[in-house]
């Protein structure tokens, strides 16, 4: 009797553990499928024209996404320029100056802000910038992306600064330099790798964001016109092209997806490999 019971338990054990392994494998298989399709479809549609030409209207063959590539680069730069000082200063405040209660309040707010759906951020940017300015603009898109990126930069900066050992702070102060010079000249350089990691993670995140751009950048048929005018971007174009009935546009959407994937995954892998190596 005991034998049958044990046999059954062993069977359940084997089954469940195998299911767990299958579950893990499934996730990786899905990743491979997505990456694989994007790679294959994307490369076959990617050519020099794609990189160099502006978009053509629907139905006309050819055309590329030159302006949208520029647009993505511009918007990412804008978002980074705005979010970097804000996130870094906030991180410095929490790590170096804040008392425990304010620190918790700021950290909690940053975590919550990170969880706000990006489409809500887009609507917010629309209400605050696009409406009053009566125009869609690269600037409002940059602000929206910055709002998404700020919590990432702030949290990573704070954690990196905390990791700088205290005796270095004291050694700096004992030289007779002011607190703020000690922070900028000694402590931030000591935390620089972590801070840069945070910025890169933020860049990877906002490069792929689409929803906020619908309400702020809008997309442009006239190329890049300046910061106060609408602007196109890769993710936005992927969305529009994918939802259209034009098969040529579908091909271009894959090519754009491939490019975007290269950028985003390239940064993500780089960051994770570097930080794993450091923690070992």
């Amino acid at each position: 009797m005991a034998d049958t019971g044990y046999g059954r338990r062993k069977l359940i054990n084997r089954t469940m553990l195998s299911l767990c392994a299958i579950a893990a494998g499934l996730s990786i298989i899905v990743l491979a499928l997505i990456l694989g399709y994007t790679l294959v479809q994307g490369i076959s549609s990617l050519d020099i024209d794609f990189l160099m030409q502006a978009a053509k209207p629907m139905g006309e063959a050819g055309g590329g996404m030159r302006d949208e590539i520029f647009g993505t680069l511009i918007l990412v730069t804008l978002g980074t320029l705005i979010s970097l000082p804000v996130g870094l200063m906030a991180g410095i405040f929490v790590a170096e100056f804040a008392g425990p209660r304010i620190a918790t309040a700021v950290q909690f707010s940053a975590d919550i802000l990170a969880g706000v759906p990006s489409i809500v951020v887009g609507v917010f940017a629309y209400a605050v910038l696009v409406r009053p300015m009566h125009s869609y603009s690269a600037l409002s898109a940059g602000v929206a992306l910055a709002v998404i990126m700020i919590p990432i930069v702030a949290r990573t900066a704070e954690e990196s600064l905390r990791l700088v050992p205290n005796f270095q702070r004291e050694a700096a102060l004992a030289l007779g330099i002011t607190r703020w010079r000690a922070i900028i000249g000694v402590i931030i350089p000591g935390a620089l790798t972590g801070i840069v990691t945070g910025v890169m993670l933020g860049v990877a995140r906002i490069a792929g964001e689409t929803a906020p751009l619908i309400f702020t950048a809008l997309g442009s048929q006239f190329g890049v016109q300046g910061l106060l005018k609408p602007i196109g971007a890769l993710p936005l174009q992927i969305y529009r092209y994918a939802m259209s009935p034009d098969p040529d546009w579908h091909k271009q959407a894959w090519a754009a997806a491939f490019l975007l994937m290269l950028l985003v995954l390239g940064i993500s892998i780089l960051v994770r490999v570097v930080s794993r190596r450091r923690s070992i």
Partner: protein, 315 residues
């Protein structure tokens, strides 16, 4: 000539007084931003709030021409797709987390975790693209046709197999939230002290029984927190869902039916919104979404923070 400062200096450097205050301003900006979003959304949604009051949440008609805006199907769609995503994602994530934390050999843990995290890094619009052109045809045939023919007596699997619809949306959302639930669950499982496992095994339990009866219950609140965070992510997800859910607008139990989520409604209709009330209604939708994800995220954070606090108290 090098000037050495002897003497006692002036008290207090100006920069040392300003710098901390300056950093505080930026830090508080984050808090202000959060509050600002809430306030601004309320202001811009006000025309719709004032006109519809609670009927906004329970009415099912969305008619720009007649200026009648009711959000119930969108709310329903959001909940249905997110729930479906959870139903699919939780077992898979939990299984993967158990594998990563308990079963996998040491050399595999790092690379496998990295790969699953990479799934989270893929932009939503690319997953949507893949979903639209690769997943949806598969959902249409064989998945939906098989389900329809074998289990068509259930209301969930009735209706023509379009491919796009709630089922595809649920699957896509599941793919998107699996990485975050897996990562957090794996962390929770890894935090369970080894003595717990060893005690069970010493009693003659199998690996699975140890996991099921000791490890999982021990970190229960962390696991639940992970799932709720995943839910929060699913509720707010926009692009991938918009591309595969098909844009239907009625309350139906059929998973094959095209549907809408709050996020997809806002994204899809924004370009056409012309009237003041139309825009205000879309903003009100954003407000509803903001409120729901806020509540869900706060609950999840509190659960996870509580778990860390309890752990620290134990140590």
């Amino acid at each position: 000539m090098l000037k050495n400062s002897s003497g006692f200096g002036r008290s207090g450097h100006l920069a040392d007084k300003i710098f901390p205050r300056l950093t505080m301003v930026f830090a508080l900006l984050i808090v202000v931003l959060l509050a600002g979003i809430l306030i601004v959304l309320n202001i811009d949604a006000f025309p719709a709030i004032r006109k519809f009051w609670l009927s906004f949440l329970v009415s099912t008609s969305w008619d720009p021409v007649k200026e009648q805006f009711g959000a119930l199907p969108a709310i329903y769609g959001t909940l249905l797709s997110s729930l479906l995503a959870l139903v699919i994602a939780v077992p898979v994530s939990l299984g993967a987390a158990i594998f990563l934390s308990e079963l996998s050999p040491r050399w595999l843990k790092g690379p496998a975790s990295l790969l699953i995290e990479l799934l989270a890094a893929i932009p939503s619009v690319i997953i949507g693209l893949w979903g639209l052109f690769v997943l949806v045809p598969v959902v249409r045939n064989p998945i939906e046709s098989w389900l329809g023919s074998k289990l068509g007596f259930l209301p969930f699997f009735q209706g023509p197999p379009f491919g796009v619809g709630f089922l595809a949306a649920g699957i896509i959302l599941a793919i998107m939230i699996i990485p975050i639930i897996t990562a957090l669950s794996r962390d929770a499982l890894s935090a369970v002290p080894n003595q717990q496992r060893e005690a069970m095994l010493a009693l003659g339990a199998t690996r699975w029984e140890t996991i099921r009866r000791t490890v999982l219950p021990y970190c229960r609140s962390g696991l639940i927190g992970a799932m709720i965070l995943g839910l929060g992510r699913a509720l707010g997800e926009t692009m991938a869902v918009t591309m595969v859910i098909g844009n239907g607008y009625k309350l139906t139990a059929s998973l094959f039916s095209p549907g809408t989520t709050i996020a997809s409604k806002i994204a899809a209709e924004f370009a056409e919104a012309d009237s003041q009330l139309f825009i205000a209604s879309l903003v009100e939708l954003a407000l509803v979404l903001f409120a729901v994800t806020l509540v869900v995220n706060v609950i999840a954070r509190l659960l996870v923070w509580r778990l860390t606090a309890v752990k620290e108290a134990r140590e």
